[in-house]
């Protein structure tokens, strides 16, 4: 039996845009098995980012149930949800979102410090992870001193250094050129294959979709095909 890292049942999310309700998700049923590389695809406004956010506990659905690694997200308070994100989910954002005043190594260490990992182990693991992503030589550089692709690799290092059960990537290639996107996708694929990291990306980039082992298409807040 396939173990599910993510399970969504009847998930709906409605925003109020002024007085007009916007149905971002309409009763979505969706599951991700352990070790899968899933691409949520669809045009702008299709609900792919919203689905990624509710899975990651950054947003709460109006209806439906979501569980991540067996934990019912709806039952968690804000603090418990923060702990879930910290300990079980890795995030990679479109705009990298590194802490600009910290070096690459410090950025990777930061999340481990949130977890209470001691300094020696933090340094060792941060450098090891940066090394595995080909970034060790740039460990002392701050985000402003790196290219977009390099920053995104540091963001991936930060996301995987804690061994999350789930890696969520929201438009990870949006700010990258084709060459760098290719390198990034190879990296994600290797993470998925070699370390068995479960990956869910939200993208409208066909190149990203092509690397995923499973594509889920959304339109108007509903899954239209898989």
């Amino acid at each position: 039996m396939t173990q599910h890292v993510v399970e969504c049942q009847g998930v709906s999310r409605t925003y109020q845009d002024d007085a007009v309700p916007v149905h971002a998700l309409r009763g979505v049923d969706f599951a991700v098995g352990t070790g899968e590389f899933v691409s949520l695809a669809g045009p702008s406004g299709s609900g792919k980012s919203t689905l990624l956010h509710v899975i990651g506990g950054l947003d709460r659905p109006n209806e439906g149930a979501i569980s991540v690694d067996g934990e019912d997200i709806n039952a968690l308070g804000d603090s418990e949800l923060a702990d879930l994100r910290l300990n079980k989910i890795g995030f990679v954002f479109q705009a990298y979102n590194l802490i600009p005043v910290l070096s690459a190594q410090e950025n990777v260490e930061f999340i481990m410090q949130l977890q209470g990992v001691d300094a020696a182990e933090r340094g060792e693991r941060a450098l090891g992870t940066l090394d595995s992503l080909g970034m060790r030589d740039l460990a002392d550089r701050r985000p402003g001193e790196m290219s977009g692709g390099q920053q995104q690799r540091v963001a991936i290092a930060r996301a995987i250094v804690t061994n999350p059960v789930l890696l969520l990537a929201d438009e990870p290639s949006a700010n990258l050129d084709t060459g760098t996107t290719g390198e990034l996708l190879e990296l994600l694929k290797r993470l998925n294959k070699e370390r068995g990291v479960t990956i869910v990306t939200a993208t409208h980039d066909p190149m990203v979709m092509g690397y995923a082992s499973r594509q889920v298409h959304l339109r108007d807040g509903e899954i239209v095909s898989e």
């Binding site: 702990d83 954002f93 979102n97 802490i99 999340i111 992870t129 930060r158």
Partner: protein, 428 residues
């Protein structure tokens, strides 16, 4: 992309994380964040430094002038303390006297807290020269002991201070009113202890001018024994004026001496003897306090503005921190530590300048040239020594520390209401 094998990192040691970071990383992040907008930081820290400088300088001079005022006022006539018959302060009539004056004076002089003591007898009398008469206070003093408790003898402008048994030392304004000169005789007539007439003849040997007209036109000093004899007072005295080492110790010394005093006699410190001095100091302190509070409020608003900008500019960054699992409380703490760092920078500058300036001026003092008339009227010394103490140097930085932290905390609390999805959409 040439990367090493992606080896799995070892599992997280210890319990699952709590979403807060150690103080070391907080400090490092806060300190570096402070310099992301160096100009703003320098302006805000400069405001903190300037207000610390102003507060320290004003407070040091204010409290330094109080010490000078107290020393000048107590040194002129009242002394640090006085021993009196219990009713004499409220009802200064001749009968309210201390009967065994000499004996009590000797006992008080034995106290290690007492540096100087001098007896006084007083009586209101008519002072006459020829056809002219004025009412005044005739004060019998010990010509040797009196200069140790009172600066009146130093205010001499003409003649000598009580060189003979029938000498009179007269205020210049009183002398002018009576048309007196050195060597003139004056006749004093009052009411003696038993209701008879107290009368005595004195020769003016000295004139004084304190700058306080009220004093100069109403007082004359003569030798103690002459007044005791004229008013039938025997060994009685009305006041024993005492000086300790410091006016600030007077209350404590008075409390120590009080139990040993005879029945019907009490000791008053300068605070009770000169209530108008205490009121003047309190009024001045309150007006100073209002200025300090306004100054701190202005700086706190400036800091609050600076951190409001910070929170708005870094909304997306805070959204990211919440997204990766940092709790809003941790972010608030990080911003408050930034405010603390801001205070450290401002305080270091403000304290360095004001402390070094006050340390120097505290030793040499600052003359109030050209303000002698005002100084005399307000019992101020001719040279103000700013007070250099933990209170004057430390109060402004500590109050501003609280103000800065509160000013940093208020905008930081906005982070607690931050929704990560909306925050991540914000433009940097």
């Amino acid at each position: 992309m040439a990367a090493a094998d992606i080896a799995e990192a070892p599992p997280v040691a210890g319990p699952a994380g709590t979403g807060s970071v150690g103080i070391g990383l907080h400090m490092r992040v806060a300190w570096r964040n402070l310099w992301r907008n160096g100009r703003r930081t320098w302006l805000t820290a400069g405001g903190i430094a300037f207000s610390i400088f102003l507060c320290v300088v004003f407070m040091s001079f204010q409290l330094g002038s109080y010490d000078g005022m107290i020393d000048t006022a107590t040194g002129m006539m009242s002394g640090h303390m006085q021993v009196q018959q219990v009713d004499y302060f409220d009802d200064p009539k001749v009968a309210n006297r201390i009967a065994q004056g000499s004996e009590l004076l000797r006992e008080l002089e034995q106290s290690p807290d007492i540096v100087a003591a001098a007896p006084r007898v007083e009586g209101f009398a008519l002072v006459s020269v020829g056809e002219r008469s004025f009412g005044g206070l005739v004060m019998g003093v010990d010509p040797v002991r009196e200069p140790e408790v009172s600066a009146l003898s130093k205010q001499i402008v003409e003649g000598e201070y009580l060189p003979r048994a029938d000498s009179a030392y007269v205020g210049k304004a009183l002398a002018t009113n009576l048309g007196l000169r050195i060597g003139d005789e004056i006749f004093v007539m009052g009411s003696a202890l038993e209701g008879g007439v107290a009368a005595a003849l004195f020769t003016v040997d000295g004139l004084f001018d304190t700058g306080q007209v009220e004093l100069d036109r109403s007082i004359m000093q003569v030798p103690l024994s002459a007044v005791q004899s004229a008013f039938d007072l025997g060994d009685s005295v009305h006041r024993i004026v005492l000086m300790g080492r410091n006016a600030n110790d007077a209350t404590a010394i008075a409390e120590r001496l009080a139990p040993a005093l005879p029945e019907g006699v009490r000791i008053l410190d300068w605070d009770k003897l000169l209530p108008e001095l205490r009121q003047m100091i309190q009024m001045d302190a309150v007006s100073g306090l209002i200025i300090y509070v306004l100054l701190v409020a202005i700086v706190a608003l400036s800091v609050a503005n600076s951190f409001t900008m910070t929170v708005f500019e870094r909304t997306r960054e805070f959204g990211m921190l919440i997204a990766i699992g940092m709790r809003p409380g941790g972010i608030v703490a990080m911003i408050v530590i930034e405010a603390l760092c801001m205070w450290v920078v401002g305080t270091a500058i403000g304290a360095a300048i004001s402390f070094s300036l006050m340390a120097g001026l505290g030793v040499v003092g600052v003359p109030i040239a050209g303000l002698e008339d005002m100084a005399g009227q307000f019992m101020m010394p001719e040279r103000i020594h700013p007070e250099v103490s933990f209170f004057t140097l430390g109060t402004a930085p500590l109050v501003l520390l609280v103000g800065t932290l509160v000013a940093g905390l208020i905008p930081a609390l906005r982070v607690r209401r931050l929704k990560p999805v909306e925050a991540l959409r914000e433009e940097e």
